[in-house]
């Protein structure tokens, strides 16, 4: 199996699909001539030309709305948000049009649209350039929201996203563009709504998605040294959500910790905790714990930023608390 970076995996999925299907185009700010702020679209303009790799002006609402119009009428656009932080300017289009138009047209239109770009923090971009928007977009019926962490999933879920007949919010782990991994060749599709058991274990279930999955794997390794067997679940997609894998795991381990970079209030972890207590209440031996970002806008200074996001020590401590090994 070839080894690729996370960035290359996304690019290869887009290029393959553009080759296969003329209706697939990409658009966004500086994605063509410049090569993409994070070089995800690098080289595509040479291969597919400016009518299929469209450099747009800095007008997120306008070009996202235009892409929705294209998607409604026979095309399959992939929109790059230079970073998801700028998507608030397009939120009206995404929420009021893309997510709902199928419903309020009584099923007369479909919106096969992908919006992709880096999400989350960790690289000192401070308040306005640091958000984890899975909970925000996950709130709205009519959207699909996914967050791959491995290069293989990045490719497989991008292929699934482009072929999906619904608007997909594709949240990339911006800090991981350069990480490498094995990526299956060819038509490798990872369907939505199926969580991945990243490590098997029996004593406690650790749940996350995106960048935090890698932290959970480190924590599980550390806990193994203490005689604790942790199962790590990568949610992969936030909407649709794989309740079954989570509940089955908790029925086995009887304990769960949910980790996320985003703020805790009204967040993905809150929803996961609620699902577990609804469906596996009698199997639980401890409350489901959440480890989340600090309730502050993201700070700049490195030490403050590190303190604002979950770290491995906090996660390990939460796991021990759920096992009543620590107060």
């Amino acid at each position: 199996m070839p080894v690729m970076t996370y960035r290359e995996a996304i690019r290869s999925a887009m290029a393959d699909e553009m080759t296969r299907d003329d209706s697939v185009i990409v658009m966004g700010e500086d994605i063509g001539v410049y090569g993409g702020t994070h070089l995800v679209t690098d080289g595509l303009i040479d291969k597919f030309g400016p009518k299929r790799v469209i450099d747009t002006p800095i007008a997120e609402g306008g070009f996202t709305g235009a892409a929705i119009g294209m998607a409604m009428t026979g095309m399959r656009p992939i929109v790059e948000m230079m970073t998801w932080n700028f998507s608030f300017q397009a939120a009206d289009q995404i929420i009021q049009n893309a997510a709902k138009v199928r419903y309020f047209s009584g099923g007369q239109v479909t919106v096969p649209l992908v919006i992709r770009g880096p999400n989350g923090g960790g690289v000192q971009l401070s308040a306005q350039h640091t958000h984890s928007l899975e909970g925000f977009y996950g709130h709205f019926p009519g959207l699909k929201v996914v967050s791959p962490v491995t290069p293989a999933d990045a490719k497989g879920m991008m292929l699934a996203s482009i072929r999906d007949n619904n608007p997909v919010i594709f949240l990339e782990a911006g800090a991981l563009y350069g990480t490498k991994g094995e990526v299956p060749d060819g038509d490798f599709v990872v369907p939505f709504g199926k969580a991945r058991i990243a490590r098997e274990g029996t004593d406690i279930t650790l749940i996350a998605y995106g960048r935090q999955v890698n932290m959970l794997l480190n924590v599980a390794e550390k806990l193994a040294g203490e005689g604790i067997s942790a199962e790590v679940i990568d949610l992969r997609s936030i909407r649709p959500f794989d309740e079954e894998t989570i509940v089955t795991s908790v029925r086995k381990t009887h304990r769960a910790v949910v980790v996320q970079e985003q703020w805790r209030w009204f967040s993905v972890a809150s929803e996961v905790a609620a699902i577990i207590q609804e469906q596996a209440f009698d199997d639980l031996d401890a409350p489901v714990l959440r480890v989340s970002g600090a309730e502050v806008p993201a700070p700049y200074a490195r030490n403050l930023e590190l303190a604002a996001f979950p770290n491995e020590d906090q996660i390990a401590a939460a796991a021990r608390r759920a096992l009543y090994l620590e107060k």
């Binding site: 306008g62 235009a66 119009g69 294209m70 009428t73 026979g74 419903y103 009519g142 007949n165």
Partner: protein
């Protein structure tokens, strides 16, 4: 790129229509100075009267609580959509805001299906899921029906890009209000349209329905630059004004500019001058923002009266024939109401369908 502002068209529209409505001095290519044959024009008259009576019936149903939500009427603006939609060709895409009943009826949705939608019935054109503001009839070219002021404008520009990309030879008619032109969505979308149009990639006709008010805020109270169509200049989009209460003027303009948009793949702007005779919505009872006299003065230029005068002047019809048309239109409206009232509510199973596609 040079943008030619069509001053002559603007000047004509500012003075011409009302004169010609009474005087019938309009000179055009075909019989009796009218641009189309009598049968076609009389049919448009029939449609405009039907829309009027349909909406009056809807307003009544709203006031008696049978129609819920919002209800925005097109009364006084009928010639605008009638004239431009006459240039509709299969495959074209029509998109507008929430004041959308006329567009649906002209494009050929059965009045029963429109009224049933207003009533929130399962037989409505979107199965009772959208109501008055979200009329869709994709088969007949109507791609909505949107409730967020300005929010649909970028979609129309996207439709046009797709039409050019697919080399369909089709175009988009994008309707929007004078109130929405101040929203960022217009400016972002118009900029894209102008930009893409440079390469022939945006056959989009921007039709600004200037009915002089955005709810209770007049054009003058919404912008210091009240020549609204001049805003197209900022984006390299050529444009002209038309007196949209005069069907004949609209038809002439529409035939010419749609041909041009189709051929060039470039967007074009229209400032369609009209006046909203009805309240903003059927629940706008007070109308504090304008005087009764002002509304009254515009009734003289009611597009239906203007057309009647034109047709009589050209000997295209008689009072008796028009009376018959009005009576038939009343029957259509009554039939639509009866159908809507007798229709079943949407099946409860519809609540959760159409959220996602397969």
């Amino acid at each position: 790129m040079a943008t030619t502002r069509s001053r002559s068209a603007k000047a004509a529209s500012k003075s011409g229509a009302n004169d010609s409505a009474v005087g019938g001095r309009h000179k055009a290519a075909s019989q009796n100075g009218l641009p189309l044959d009598h049968t076609t024009l009389l049919d448009m008259y029939r449609q405009m009267v039907t829309i009027r009576l349909f909406e009056e019936a809807a307003q009544k149903a709203f006031r008696t609580g049978k129609i819920g939500g919002y209800l925005h009427l097109y009364i006084g603006q009928e010639a605008l959509a009638m004239g431009f939609l006459h240039s509709y060709q299969p495959g074209d895409k029509i998109i507008t805001a929430y004041r959308d009943h006329a567009h649906a009826l002209i494009l050929g949705t059965h009045p029963r299906a429109v009224m049933a939608e207003l009533y929130g019935k399962g037989t409505g054109m979107v199965k009772g899921k959208g109501g008055s503001m979200h009329l869709f009839d994709v088969k007949n070219g109507l791609w909505g029906g949107y409730g967020i002021v300005g929010g649909h404008i970028p979609l129309g520009v996207g439709f046009a890009y797709a039409q050019a990309y697919q080399q369909s030879g089709n175009m988009t008619q994008l309707y929007f209000g004078d109130g929405s032109i101040h929203n960022g969505a217009f400016h972002e979308a118009a900029n894209l349209a102008g930009l893409w149009g440079r390469d022939g990639m945006n056959p989009c006709l921007f039709i600004l329905e200037n009915n002089k008010y955005g709810m209770g805020t007049s054009v003058e109270r919404a912008t210091a630059m009240t020549d609204l169509s001049a805003k197209f200049d900022s984006y390299g989009i050529e444009h002209e004004d038309v007196d949209a209460n005069d069907l004949i003027a609209v038809l002439e303009c529409a035939q010419r500019v749609t041909k041009m948009v189709r051929e060039t793949g470039k967007p074009y702007g229209i400032e369609a001058q009209t006046y909203r005779l009805s309240p903003h919505g059927a629940a706008d009872f007070l109308e504090r923002y304008r005087s009764k006299d002002e509304v009254q003065s515009h009734r003289a230029h009611d597009p239906i009266n203007v057309l009647e005068a034109r047709l009589l002047q050209a000997d295209a019809t008689t009072e008796a024939e028009m009376e018959k048309i009005r009576a038939d239109a009343k029957d259509v409206a009554d039939d639509a109401v009866k159908f809507a009232e007798e229709s079943p509510d949407p099946d409860l199973a519809e609540l959760t369908t159409d959220v996602l596609a397969d």
